[in-house]
């Protein structure tokens, strides 16, 4: 096959996989499971939700008290049409959950088919560095950003094998060269982190930006890099036997119970403290520990915020501080 046919590829993938792709629904673009190649949207916008639920389900059993060694059955899945910004978030997830067997079990059964999609505001955070593809983990990438025929890249052995079995060989292979050059935070992100450190302990700064926050947590749901979770134990004693499961449930650092403990102490009391913690996580804690920024510049947090808290304005204000 000389000419690439994305619809045929989806049809091929659907034979043996659960496939998730961007779908138009009620005037919104959403990542969800598809059953027919016709459902896949050709829109160049970012889906409203990210790939997150397919690799870090909202609710996931981590441990069975009665049967500790029980293994979950996992069907092979494909995340199709994931954008470059979300591929950056995927890098962070891979690092954060490197030692998490539950994440890894899903991840290793997932074929990633990327798509070059620009966020609504491409200048924000300058996500398009040179040679970006060699800093991302994907199996196949369909570059539809340029005019004419899409250019097809592979980023893994699995990607090559998939395309060859599908019957397409006119691809270019890109070797993964690590998420950051030299394993170090890039200078631009480094600068942003240092600027953020200058305002992080400025109470008035966070009070000003959190003034309208209603602590709904939508930003944390929409954010492709937010992964905070609770552990929830369900079940109880049956007869004399202890039964039940331990689940991971995604939570939000804007909720009241996020940092509160028995006895009444709450370590994140005010909305200003919570907004500060959100930015601390993305622009200080993550870059310090993971050598990558905890924000991929997708702007979903701003798009879903009911009171219009704009990450660009916060970063701009932080970067102006001398």
């Amino acid at each position: 096959m000389a000419k690439f046919n994305s619809s045929k590829l989806v049809e091929y993938l659907l034979k043996n996989n659960v496939v998730f792709a961007p779908v138009e629904r009620e005037n919104e673009l959403l990542f969800q499971e598809i059953h027919d190649p016709k459902e896949v949207s050709s829109s160049m916008r970012l889906p409203k939700n990210s790939f997150k639920p397919f690799l870090l389900p909202h609710d996931e059993v981590l441990f069975d008290f009665e049967n500790p060694k029980k293994k979950k059955k996992i069907s092979p899945q494909v995340i199709y049409g994931i954008s470059i910004v979300d591929l950056k978030a995927l890098i962070l997830f891979d690092q954060m959950f490197a030692k998490d067997p539950h994440y890894q079990a899903l991840r290793q059964n997932t074929l990633i088919v990327g798509q070059c999609i620009v966020p609504d505001d491409p200048k924000f955070l300058n996500v398009f560095e040179e040679n970006i593809l060699e800093r991302l983990k994907f199996d196949v990438l369909i570059d539809r950003c340029r005019k004419g025929e899409p250019k097809i890249f592979t980023g893994s052995r699995l990607g090559q094998q998939t395309l060859e079995k599908f019957g397409f060989t006119n691809y270019e292979h890109v070797d993964f060269k690590g998420s950051v050059e030299g394993g170090k935070l890039d200078p631009k992100s480094q600068k942003l982190k240092e600027q953020m450190k200058k305002v992080i302990n400025d109470k008035a700064f966070w009070e000003k930006f959190a003034k309208d926050c209603i602590m709904c947590g939508k930003c944390t749901v929409a954010c492709p890099t937010c992964y905070c979770f609770d552990l929830v134990d369900e079940g109880g004693e049956i007869g004399k036997k202890q039964a039940g499961v331990r689940k991971r449930r995604l939570s939000s650092c804007f909720y009241d119970d996020f940092a509160s403990i028995a006895g009444g102490e709450n370590f994140l009391k005010t909305k200003a403290e919570r907004l500060r913690n959100y930015y601390m996580h993305k622009f200080i804690r993550t870059p310090e520990r993971q050598q990558i920024l905890g924000c991929v510049g997708c702007l979903r947090c701003f798009q879903v915020c009911p009171v219009g808290i704009d990450i660009r304005k916060i970063l701009e204000a932080a970067s102006k501080v001398k």
């Binding site: 981590l62 441990f63 008290f65 500790p68 954060m96 959950f97 030692k99 998490d100 067997p101 539950h102 890894q104 302990n201 992964y227 905070c228 979770f229 609770d230 552990l231 929830v232 134990d233 369900e234 079940g235 109880g236 004693e237 202890q242 039964a243 039940g244 331990r246 991971r248 939570s251 650092c253 996020f258 940092a259 509160s260 403990i261 028995a262 006895g263 102490e265 370590f267 403290e273 913690n277 601390m280 996580h281 200080i284 804690r285 310090e288 520990r289």
Partner: protein, 274 residues
């Protein structure tokens, strides 16, 4: 890959009522190999729980040399701790850990030591005090223990004080006087003025945030160095392995990088000591 969320059943071998609403539990892992292989550092914690109810992080208070069991002390303040309180001898608790960094033992062994405990803060300090009672501990070093409690009834580990006093000076202060108390009354910081304290010592402290608020300026005024003052912090925890983010302060995780931090490490994080 090891499942970091797997808990292991442990039987409650003994329960004592140590203080009102506060019980000491002696636990033994049901898997004998796990029990024999369980080792920890003073200041580390375990996560204990009950299916269907949840888990809580609790400091270990038995001695590190004890191989036959693990002891914890639980005060019934929340959903999980109250449920644990209701358990009887022979019941099962689910345990994982130990977690956290523990007190800086190598540094402590070479220096004089000032132990400051407020309320339940005595729990993670007990294995450290036990350690300093060991025959091979450097007894040329001075060890001073200060322990503050709300009242006489709330004092923990009372049967240990005699042993502690053989090796170190132990001073107790209560918030209020009572019929059974003829000792010191006041704030724990008062003890720093009333007693001669080792200079240039390592300070290991554990207590509620309000204690740190008054203690830290006092210690600094007395000339203790920021890098020699160690504080054990309490936070909400779920995973205990540095992933879930609930216990984060600054760029650190209390569960993994802590729960013990030197003042030098956290002084620029207002959220650490608020």
């Amino acid at each position: 890959m090891k499942n970091p969320y797997e808990s292991y059943p442990a039987t409650i071998a003994k329960i004592i009522l140590d203080a009102p609403d506060t019980r000491g539990f002696t636990l033994q892992f049901q898997d004998k190999k796990r029990q024999a292989g369980f080792s920890f550092l003073p200041g580390q914690f375990i996560v204990v729980g009950l299916p269907g109810i949840g888990e809580i992080p609790v400091g270990i208070n038995s001695s590190t040399s004890e191989k036959k069991f693990v002891q914890i002390t639980v005060r019934g303040v929340g959903k999980v701790s109250r449920a644990i309180q209701q358990k009887t001898v022979g019941s099962t608790l689910f345990v994982r850990g130990p977690y956290g960094n523990g007190w800086p033992m190598k540094k402590i062994e070479k220096r004089d030591l000032l132990v400051i405990a407020g309320g339940l803060g005595i729990i993670p300090l007990k294995p450290l005090i036990d350690e300093a009672c060991r025959k091979d501990w450097g007894h040329q070093n001075q060890v001073q223990v200060f322990y503050g409690s709300r009242n006489f009834k709330n004092l923990l580990f009372e049967n240990q004080y005699k042993k502690w006093c053989q090796f170190h000076d132990t001073q107790i202060i209560l918030d209020a006087a009572g019929p059974r108390w003829h000792g010191e009354v006041g704030n724990i910081t008062d003890l720093l003025d009333k007693h001669s304290v080792p200079k240039d010592a390592i300070v290991t402290a554990c207590g509620p945030p309000i204690m740190y608020k008054y203690l830290i300026p006092k210690l600094l005024k007395k000339g203790y160095k920021e890098e020699d003052i160690y504080l054990s912090l309490e936070r909400k925890m779920y995973c205990a392995v540095g992933t879930c983010e609930h216990c984060a302060i600054g760029d650190k995780y209390v569960c993994k990088d802590g729960p013990i931090f030197s003042l030098a490490e956290i002084k620029d994080m207002p959220e650490a000591l608020e």
